[in-house]
Symmetry: D2
């Protein structure tokens, strides 16, 4: 018996969903407008503290990174922007990079400062006890604000590695105030329309305390800075067991969810392909985004932040976007009326089953259909493998220094 | 447009799976022979240390518990046995209970000793420093062996709550040797054909150390006892992040996987409906069972161990069985040839995708079909709700003392 | 050779500390003014979900609980108040209890509402979907406010067990708003001078989400309520690895640290004797309190919240207070000038060693001296054992129902 | 008032301890024979995946590493051997290195293979699906065995980074069997008198599963190999909450504790100064070693494995040894008769207090005395700072490539 095509399967699914009362046109419309930003550094080499395994064809400059990102966008249809990292993506002529991106149908996304790889930052950056180091860090943040202005970016996405390794090493409170002063200066100088996305992280590279260790600290800092400061949620930056979807919901409710760094983890900040460890959790996060409604989520920045240590980078990035499409698709299928009714009635199992009914739906044909609508690929990873892009760039990108995370 | 029936959906799925090369008859055959044992105590009231919320219609004796279990079996088709707990299910006439079970199409499953609710066990049972307490505990184990003989049970399922709360409280090694002596006596007296299933648990009710805290301790103890001692894996008894499917695979390989206590957890030993927190993990566990093959898993005891604190118990138990059916169904769909080839080739993403392809399949129509084949319910939870069983027993079970966990 | 007395050892220690430049009079003065509030429920029976092991001599009413607490105060010198729990400590005549306490040299401390043991609270209290349940819960909170007024208590100490067990069960945001409305009504009705202490907890008894799950949620709620709402930190209510002393420092800096529930944990909310698992962490918390200064900590409520499942309750409570005395004593010995200098210089190891120098000091003779100054016991646990109090109350408290946690 | 000298403080402590019945001569004798092996790589640069902050004066070859290690030995008196890492410490002439070491009063300790930094090991070493890679890995292990023979080393200390990042990537069982075959070949070829120390690790650099993830797996592998295979316990390689001292005790009892990699952690494998995070846990581990007795621990290899990312390496290593001395000293002070009596009597708190009595003792004067006996430094870190060694090597070690972890 021949295998049904993805189009056949879409037909059966559409019939099923429509029969269940799903407004399929609305769901597909939402999926077509989904956006995911990929990170320039996700196309370069990366690894663990023990080893970076280099891959062939890795881009050697920001221009080549945008080419790779454009390939991911071509295959998935929803990734037209690229987050950049300063200084890894520093170029002399921002206009040229902007034009290059535009020619590829791409745009420059969030600007990511680097406050962890300068020799001066051994004991911190904006929290460092030495005011000269804080000045240097703040100047870098200000420079990133200028880059945002020049590139048309609307977000500075700030991850601080600041923290300490030993009890007593420094004062929590003194460091907090130093941070607040530096970020206030940065905030005041941001271009109009630009937001400061403040990321938190449970630990690493600091192993006793991290100055922005959880969402409560990030939110408190954002409150001190102003309305354009919002919290960035990286899925791998929590203690074991933390209910991330609850944090997402509360931040959305407070108008302070700035965006995501998507990835997956089982242990620490593992930076794996998003959805590969616990796809149900990813679905639950999207279910909160859908529940909050379009207005509340209009400005959320959906960004990937991963390291593909052992699997091919372009495949991994493409798979990640597909996983996000499928998580969103499932979330859009939640029968919100039935859910509200079950909750109202205190019917625990019925409410839970409304979610699992949506989750268990095999949405792959639906996502494939949406991608076809967008002119992207039915099966993006298969198309990438079939298309020969990776082989071509591996042949072409000879000489020079492959981009690397460090 | 009318919603497709589950039968319609099975047709589409069968076509799809067959097209993908799945041997559907074999899959359905395997699903029909799946077995899950439900626990008698799962039908009684239970709760947290803060509160037990009683439910209506709770059985008042082992006979009524078997009636409830029979209802779950009627709906799901794969639950013909019930684990019993001594003394909670102690009866004067074991033959009467056995006949009662048989009349319901049921059998008595694993015998579970209780070594944690006697006043004497405040500091432990088989590990207690006082030999008189160890004698009492061992005698209870021996009595359970006799009950196994009388009820035709082939397994004693042993969970030890033994442990300490404070550093220094007792000697790890002295306790270990006491345990070994008591269990050796128990093991020697077990009826022919009976196995000793040795459960481990990370913590609770002991909060400094637990005498059988992980699979390594349980396995070491089993090795000391003999071949009929095997490890019991409770899904909620691990530290955060532990890869349970790896432990399952290694125990199977060593011929020491005795069985499971199924449930779900996000934090501690939460004892929630299996599959409700991380259904992907449950699938991965079943994928290892399928990979090991029928011979290796022939004696594995698949048992549920949950507490339904806030949701209706019968619904929760029924849903749990459905979740196990769906997990197993997905695992049976894994394309093992493709998996082996991708692994051989070192194709990380392809191998991973073989698993997720199976996992993403919406197997509900397939499981419904199998249940129909077994004379069970298309949608067991819906059928339970529609059938009025819960209302009926709530009316009938008036007076007496509802069974409770404590 | 005869063992030096505690007084001898104090002499040697005093010489040593004075030689190191410690202002011993100031340290001892601070230790004499340390205060720890013990909980009435800590004198009653308690246990795990598996078993409550009853103890002899357990008080049968609030009056007897105060007698036990007075014994702990007599031995330690710093525990003149007792937290009460409603309805466990509900009495008809609050004046009589107040007089009884006063006659013992004691006072009524924080009032603890109970929003988790009513049948109505199965799905929550102030977060419950049913407004009638929220009304009931709010009325209980209002009643606790009145009790505070009548007893002269200056704090309502609120722990919410509210949460859900299954994804989808209820809306995070809807529950949040319900909670906020109920607590706002409670806050508005609090007596003058009374504070609302808002406790958070990572999990248990809810196992999917907890409505006040971390300090960020508690702080956000307090901000919504007003200045007299402050966060309560229970040492056992965090995810594994969370840096509690950092949270303490930041809350102090924000003027929002309301108080502590002291206990120790290795796994979940184990409620063990404070300091028994990781005494260094307890020291680090006190080091932050000392660093913040007297003004910032003037209103902090230092309360114990433990369950003594297997060890004698009075001994455990007494030992807990001693542990808190010693942690504070060590924190007072930190050479703050040397610490500031090392931090300023970025001398990581030197700063760390300033803390460990203080921590390693054997402060037992110092604490014994302070207790003697207060008319309390040299070695409180030994004195308790020698004094025969436990034996006496075990003889006297015959008949009636021993107080229990549930 | 002048500060008492360390000698004065020793006098007071000795009087106190002797009065308590401690056999001080025996304690000091045990402390003088304590041994700690420092790792050659601990003297080179190291860091996190985000950044390696280089330090001045870092050795450029194994000879200079031994010089640094000799300085640590000179200051502490108990560190006469150095673990080496192949290929980081590969030299052409092992005799020359051995002579160099001997001239410094030092010896070559455990030989550590490297199976994680070759390009071939991207998907594993001895577990790799490709037999050619396994051959390469096994040949490296065999070469390390030869190096052990030539250097007089009596241990091969094996850490495997092998694992997978994605569910399905490879077969747990197939990998296990590959590992067993390679290690069996290695084991068979080990020189007489040499042991294979098998380390386990919870996670990192693999993030889905690790082939030797816990002590149970390491022990099972050792059992398959033979008696000269023993388990290596790295303090940072456990899930959160795991009771490490229990594992140590059980491995000792089974005759399978091969040694330690000492370090401290709060989150992941943080590799901080041992004892800096939870000194009580370190004490409890040493208490188990003392309890097991000298015969049982005669062959245990006590090795440090740390990365000093932000603090001066020599100071950190020296401080680590001091922390180990103090932990052992405290453990030696445990009143084992009183402990046994309290345990026998089921006196929970008394038994716990026997441990904390020892732990709270300020053993610094005792350890200083022992170091003076050994001709080492009263305060090793202070002596290191005062002695100018670091400044001298920083001046001398100009040019060349500083040793680095990667």
């Amino acid at each position: 018996m021949p295998q049904p095509t993805m189009t056949d399967r879409y037909g059966a699914l559409a019939e099923d969903l429509t029969g269940r009362g799903v407004d399929l046109a609305a769901v597909e419309g939402a999926l077509r407008t989904q956006r995911v930003e990929t990170p320039s550094w996700g196309y370069g080499n990366s690894g663990t503290r023990f080893k970076v395994f280099p891959q062939p064809g890795v881009p050697r400059d920001p221009f080549e990174k945008f080419a790779d990102a454009a390939e991911v966008h071509r295959l998935t249809g929803i990734c037209p922007s690229v987050a950049i990292h300063i200084p890894w993506d520093q170029v002399d002529d921002w206009g040229a990079l902007r034009d290059h991106a535009a020619a590829l149908g791409m745009a420059i996304g969030a600007v990511n400062p680097n406050l962890f790889q300068d020799e001066a930052y051994k004991l911190g950056s904006v929290c460092h006890p030495d005011p000269a180091v804080r000045r240097r860090a703040t100047d870098h943040l200000l420079a990133c604000g200028e880059i945002a202005a020049r590139t048309g970016s609307t977000a500075i996405s700030l991850w601080l590695a600041d923290g300490t390794n030993y009890p007593g090493q420094d004062s929590f409170v003194a460091r907090w105030r130093r941070m607040e002063a530096c970020l206030a200066e940065t905030y005041a100088a941001m271009p109009d329309g630009c937001r400061l996305l403040v990321e938190y992280k449970f630990y690493e590279p600091a192993f006793y305390h991290t100055d922005l260790a959880d969402w409560g600290m990030a939110l408190t800092m954002c409150q001190a800075l102003g309305e354009r400061a919002q919290v960035l949620v990286d899925l791998g930056h929590h203690a074991q067991g933390v209910n991330v979807e609850q944090i997402v919901a509360l931040l959305l409710d407070a108008g302070r969810l700035g965006g995501f760094h998507f990835n997956a983890r089982k242990y620490g900040d593992d930076d794996l392909i998003v959805g590969s460890t616990n796809p149900f959790e990813l679905f639950l996060i999207y279910a909160e985004l859908v529940a909050a409604g379009e207005a509340a989520t209009a400005d959320v920045a959906y960004m990937i932040d991963q390291t593909h240590n052992i699997e091919p980078k372009l495949e991994a990035m493409t798979q990640s976007v597909v996983n996000l499409q499928e998580a969103y698709a499932r979330a859009l299928l939640v029968d919100r009326d039935a859910l509200a009714a079950a909750r109202e009635a205190g019917d625990v199992l019925a409410a839970h089953r409304v979610l699992t009914d949506a989750y268990q739906t095999d949405v792959r044909p639906l996502c494939a259909k949406v991608r076809r609508d967008l002119g992207a690929a039915d099966d993006p990873v298969a198309a990438l493998r079939a298309g020969g892009y990776a082989e071509r760039v591996a042949r072409e990108r000879v000489g020079g220094t492959p981009a690397s995370w460090t």
